[in-house]
């Protein structure tokens, strides 16, 4: 006798057994050295960071190594990128000092952009900045530059005085305000500068890894009545999330460079 239960059992449906599908966890960021016996620091992210640097040097050398008055080809693209950084990142914060800092801002923006895009390039697929050491190094560099510049231009004491003691307040209130200024300007600002980039890249990579793992597992390993739609959904979501991720990667590179320009601008012009 065929009971509904038996009928169900003949259908190509398997209940996900324990130990079946594993959602990828933070362990996907723990990468071993590239080959057996390689130095422990030589992992995929460090290789990608070096590769990105070389790639940028080659691209910009190609664009500006032999500049023509009427730009063609790579120079066109390079100039569009340079103009974007100058008009959108530099000018609003640095004003007439923009040109002095353009080499730094262009380097920061394109370095971070290429690092981030490594997260969606097929077969590479690892955003360098999802290892927090990389954004920390950039953020600390900008932080040191900001403090050195500020102390040079506004004077060693003037810089901290302008930052922590806004004028026009009764003296006693400074006791209440100065600690807030100190924490927000000298500790939280650089920390969030690095964390924002890191957290976005970390979360984005996790999301992509999760949806592509869902798509792969339910289409290739647990194919069935329930598996197929879930797998298709996972695949579609992977594609949509990749598009979103490209946007976020660009946005974060822009924000990172923009905040760098803002901090440098604060060092150049005293806050008021």
């Amino acid at each position: 006798m065929i009971t509904p239960t038996l009928l169900l059992a003949t259908l190509p449906f398997k209940a996900p057994e324990p130990g079946g599908f594993h959602a990828p966890g933070p362990d996907i960021f723990e990468l071993p050295p590239l080959w057996e016996g390689a130095p422990t620091w030589l992992t995929k992210p460090t290789l990608l960071a070096m590769f990105s640097a070389v790639l940028l040097v080659v691209l910009f050398w190609g664009a500006f190594g032999n500049p023509k008055i009427v730009p063609r080809g790579l120079q066109n693209i390079g100039e569009i990128g340079y103009m974007f950084v100058r008009e959108q990142v530099g000018r609003p914060f640095l004003g007439k000092d923009t040109d002095r800092f353009m080499p730094l801002l262009v380097s920061i923006f394109f370095m971070v952009l290429v690092w981030n895009l490594m997260g969606v390039i097929p077969f590479i697929q690892f955003p360098v900045a999802s290892h927090i050491a990389f954004p920390i190094v950039l953020a600390v560099s900008v932080y040191l530059l900001r403090i050195v510049l500020g102390m040079k231009i506004q004077g060693p004491i003037g810089f901290f005085k302008n930052m922590m003691f806004p004028p026009g307040v009764p003296k006693a209130v400074y006791i209440l305000l100065a600690p807030i200024e100190f924490l927000s300007n000298l500790i939280l600002a650089p920390a969030t500068h690095a964390l924002r980039l890191f957290a976005n890249m970390f979360a984005g990579h996790m999301i992509l890894a999760f949806f592509s793992a869902v798509g792969f597992y339910f289409i290739f390993e647990d194919f069935g009545l329930l598996g197929l739609p879930v797998g298709v959904l996972g695949t579609v979501m992977t594609i949509l999330m990749t598009a979103l991720e490209i946007f976020i990667q660009f946005l974060q590179a822009f924000l990172f460079a923009m905040l760098a320009a803002m901090y440098i601008g604060n060092a150049l012009h005293a806050e008021h």
């Binding site: 000018r91 609003p92 914060f93 004003g95 302008n162 806004p166 004028p167 026009g168 307040v169 209440l176 305000l177 600690p179 807030i180 200024e181 924490l183 927000s184 300007n185 939280l188 600002a189 969030t192 923009m258 905040l259 803002m262 601008g265 604060n266 012009h269 005293a270 806050e271 008021h272």
Partner: protein, 71 residues
Amino acid sequence: MSEQKRTPENDGRDFADAAWSVPAYLMSGILVWGGFGWLLSHWTGVYAFIPIGVILGVGLAVYLVYLKHGR
């Protein structure tokens, strides 16, 4: 330091500066004075110092944003 002229360029910078510094100020206000309130409550056993500190911190942070960007 308000000798700077109010040009559209400076206005844009002020606006962006304010927008980016507000969250940091709020967080710092809560951390500094909320933390101080927590210490006080820890030493004295009066629990009410924590919310007082947090609210004082938020208020001071808002005042600071006004001082730096609102005038």
